[in-house]
Amino acid sequence: MVNRVKRITQPAFILPALLLVGLLIISSTSDFIFGNTSNEDPMALPKTAPPQPPTTSSFVTESNLDDAEESSRNLTWCDVPLQNPKLRQTLDQFWFSRLEEKGLTSPEEASPEQLLRRLHYVVTGLPPTPEDLDSFLKDPHETRWNLRIEKLLASEQYGVHWGRHWLDLVRWAETDSYERDRLKPSAWRYRDWVVDAFNSDLPYDQFLILQLAGDELEIESLDHHVATGFLHLGIRNDEPADPKQAIFDDLDGMLDTTCRSMLGISMGCARCHDHKGDPIPTRDYYRMLSFFEGLKPYKIGGGNGIRTTNFVRDLPLDLGDNKFEESLESWKREYSERLSEISNLLDEVSVRWGKETLIAANNATFKDSKVHLDFNQPPSKSATESETTPNFEHEEFDTQRGTGKNGSPSLSLTGNAYVTIPRPVQDDFTISFWFKTNRLGRGNSNDLRWILGSGLVDGEIPGIVPDFGISLVADHVCAGVGDPEVFIHGPGQMNDNQWHHVCFTRSIETGRFALWIDGVERSSATGSKKSLTQPEKLSIGRMLPGAASLNGEMDEVVFWDRVLSSREIIDLSIGGGTLPQHVQLVSERLGSAEGQRMEEAIQRLYELKRPTRDFVQVLSAQEQQNIPQSYIRIRGTASAPGDEVTPGFPQILGGADASIEKPSDGESSGRRLALARWIANKENPRTARVMTNRVWQHVFGEPIVPTPNDFGTFGLPPTDAQLLDNLALDFVESGWSIKSLLRSLLSSSMFRSSGRFHQGNDRTDPRNRYNWKFRGRRLSAEEIRDSILSFSGDLNLKLGGPGVYPLLPDEVLATASRPDSAWGRSSKEDSSRRSIFIHVKRSLLHPMLQAFDMADTDNPCPVRFNTIQPTQALTLLNSDFSERQAKSFADRLENEHSNTRDRIRACMLIVSQKAPAPQRVDENLSFFENLKSEHDLNDRQALEIFCLMALNLTETIHID
């Protein structure tokens, strides 16, 4: 029987992997740390450093290494603290000395065109434009290179490109996978946060802390919460056979992603097994897992529901900025001053001329109301008459009397009671009422469609028809007219057991409807302009279909068949006192000066705008109040707890217990913050090395440690540990500035070296171990699509916002279980945005990005595959996208150039960012002419085909 070991690896590792055979042999026969590597060998791994002063560090240091015998046995180079060497060398010093030692000829510098193209793609993922090229070539100064680096690092497209590298590591996607593949609410905000973080060069240590524990920091800001979306990006089974296990699977995803992306450790195998010799015992795994066990679970119990309220919440955009609170306070103060000015005047009238004097004025607004329900009469199922609702019928079911706002009876509802009345309005109208409750309405605040709530005043009919209604969804008053997708809502926390005034207006002419809460217009929208002639009865306190009833009190429900003025609505909300009738009364009784004063007070009242703040939905960390005890889970089975564990760090990294401080806001345990601070610590031997290696990887095409997510035992050793350590130290000392690290790499001679083959060097170092040539590469999936869009000028560089939906072929949609509703639709402009902004739906991925090896959405992806498969050729040749872009490219060439030769030349220049030699232009021109004659085409047709050909050139999708 032949034993087969399958060939496999991420291909980008291949070259260094091959280089490493030598090292592997060394490593398999010697101890990496204390080994016999000689000082003369420049590739030697770091030796132990001289003893250092005692430290309280939780990491393995030289001083506590001896004590940590258990740990040291498995300690590899990457778990030894970064040591400041006697001689700090620059990258070029390292590089040149390596070449010299090996007798390799230094490469010449690449051509300016190659360099510019290389630089633009590495920094922004986009090609330089002809103008970029021209200005670069014309700049005679030596500074042009560094200036260009600065310009590109300052471009916001830098963050788009480098943000994508990070998204690969955290398996960012916008849906949950599994049967329903549900949308993760606002997952795009996390994507935008990452892009912004790169653009603002957020120090990398902060970058990590915010993702793990932004919510636990003393300083509050929306971004800090958005960053914790990191914890919610994984696949989530909405209908697991074993819900408890599913919650642990989810936690495992968080831990595994954290460890792989930030520390270069794969913890996965330690979840179930504790093999002898493994550096990560099971106990370490569960100690690490317990940092996350405070988080509220994504689902509770069986069924197919997901508890979104456990990880999604509405937060104000200006969270942490107390300006809003200040301005709200000052508004309240001013508002109540004006109010008391008004009420003082009215009180005076009342005291001197009697209460009755005011009643007529107070009721002015009610005079033309169609229905006024004050609930002062006892409940009745028959027609009732009262002073304020003459000849009006209403029915009540199981309602009770409560105590209304002014001490008079109210309508008391206990969750299944309601009142119906014949619908009194249909075109223009205003509905005003008071309510109070200490309970949440039906639904949740992630979906504020009024039809989902508990009824306040409801005129709903099933189906998409012009109906209307007002309801309480969770703790928000929501309302809408017509299309159920057009809805508005007021602020949250309406379940505070206080009386609130709600007023809803609707105009048939404009279709505008508005929602006022407590005298402030909170929201408006445009809905149906039809006459709302259905249903025949309105329901008060209950939704018609579904029968969700309010649990609380209602009072003073009034309908008008006109849109009340804001002055009238404010009057209602403060219980009377701002109408012309009131002013007139004061003028008549107290004198015109007093009337004038009152009018001014009222005017100022109207002018006072209540400060508003915008709330947005964020995926964020939320912890439970009582965190369950953590256990080892035997064989990874959630329902099989073993020994108790407490939060702590892996043995290979010191094995200390975590010191945890509960944040002062009391909303979380502080566990994640302890983990975050331990990771983002300059003494953590892995963090800086792991990220430095990644930055190197994306600049030079291949990482120094060929297994960027697996440092140490499970991975391969670095090709040049000293170099990595030097760079990592620089990185930490620069204040964890990724841009600074990039600057040092990009400005090096090594980065500018040619990729040209050299016979002699190839003989000495066939694997290019010492970087005697720059490694060219194929562009990534996103780079290819974005470049093609940019050639035609269609590329839309807009940043941020919800994902976009470029047109997908019907064949692709047909693979979804619900082909008709599987994908959205975006405008042409949005469809032409950079690929990072395409909505990432786990079960329906963009076919072109997939063909070119986009990152797997379900596992952290440290290095993209680099496959060559027929699908790629078929996509670039035959897809609708290629064809559309070829035509658009031809439009551009026709607009910008008047003759065929110039167009051909420009096409070649745009795709390669290099002026083609005249002879090459001639050759392509003759292809063009042959194409025309052989296939009987006109210039335009041939130009489109030529453009399509150009998109398919190897030169177009490869950089040197």
Binding site: F13, N237, C269, R818, E955
Partner: protein, 492 residues
Amino acid sequence: MSLDNSKDPAGQFCGRTRREFLWEAGAGFTSLALGGLLGQNFFAGQSLAADGLHSYASPLAPNPAMIAAKAKSVIFLFMYGGPSHVDTFDYKPKLYPLDGQNIEVKTFGRGGHRKTGRVVGPKWNFKPYGECGKYVSDLFPNVGSMVDDISFIHSMTADSPLHGSAMLMMNSGKVFSGAPCLGSWANYGLGSLNENLPGFVVMLDKTGGPISGAKNWSSGYMPAQYQGTVLRSEGVPILDLEPGQLLGGGVQRSVLDHLRAENEIHAAARVGNPDLAARIANYELAYQMQSSAPEAVDIDAEDEETKSLYGIDRGKTADFGRKCLMARRLVERGVRFIQIYSGGNHDDNNWDAHGDLKFNHDKHAGATDLPIAGLLKDLKRRGLLDETLVIWGGEFGRQPTAEYAHLTGRDHNSYGFTMWMAGGGVKGGTSIGSTDELGAEAVDKPLHVKNLHATVLQLMGLDPNRLSFFHAGLEEKLVGVEGAQPIWDAIA
């Protein structure tokens, strides 16, 4: 420390440690199609891999089998939604008289865990077929006629009775998404016998894909070559296979010739980069696929008798029949793994009979019985059945009891269900394992999805407990780290 953590002699390969070899051998990845397609002079001087030592190998080129192979190809007839075993192939005579009675029975399905339920007696009669006398229900009279070639596995179990995770499990062995599917593993292990066609092909129902869509044929953490290609039974079979408006009418060949000339100039200036040559070859491979794929699925080339055998001349069976016939043609052309879905979308568009069992199963069995039997017969008479493994089944079975108070529908059942295999080294006329007399739970020789997967790999000549892919620090296997035995009783 030592990277050579494998003390097992099996961990040695060509004098190197296992992991060294893994990393090194990956060099083959970027060089698809060079070996066979372009033996031209252009590459003669460069036909070594980047290490300067090894010649190129296509990752999809045929690999020698690890063990003696019995099956070259697999056709997996996926009855999405979960067919009821007690109404199809698992005869339960005692269930009929219990119809309508409430009994104690432990079930777990969409409706959660239950201890009692109302029995729904099987809605079809069973009768014996073939020399083996296997009882098959009236839903599958045509498949019944082939029982002597079939091995029935009645004691299947799965980890989940819920579609989302159960589908993933049946296709990839894991209840999580992100792992490669059975078809990916087969191609990864064996390579393709025909580079002009995809090695892993999926045909979907007209009503749409199964839930989780492309996750069911994803290559997960493996590269994209190994993911399933969706093949359509009508029109252009593969996405973007045919030239669009610009490259139609022969223009494409002119463009390809020019592209090749341009790309060769580009590559010539970049000696030492094998990728570039592979990319040139790749365009030729795509070009060949454009003619070979439509030819492969051109069932009009078949005679009327054959079409009739598959039920293509009958409305009800025409669609599934076309797909089965296409599958046979693909097998003849060396495609490794073909999956055909019976049922798509949601509710009664697939076998998920929660409401009216009779309506649902009459519909889906009616559409598939004749084509499946036709496929088996056709493979057999052409001598292909011996090397083609045909698998039938869904992600789970169904419960003996009703889901709702008044309907005949059954809820999901992963405690026990039936799948069958035919051809490809399978011992025909056998029945393995059994469920209890209600069909509620596997009692005799319970088998897991992993055992089924292990059997498939074993029959294809791959050692299920050795075939691994190094991913994130683990030697991942289709059958999981703990491994699984093939169902030896089913193997001839």
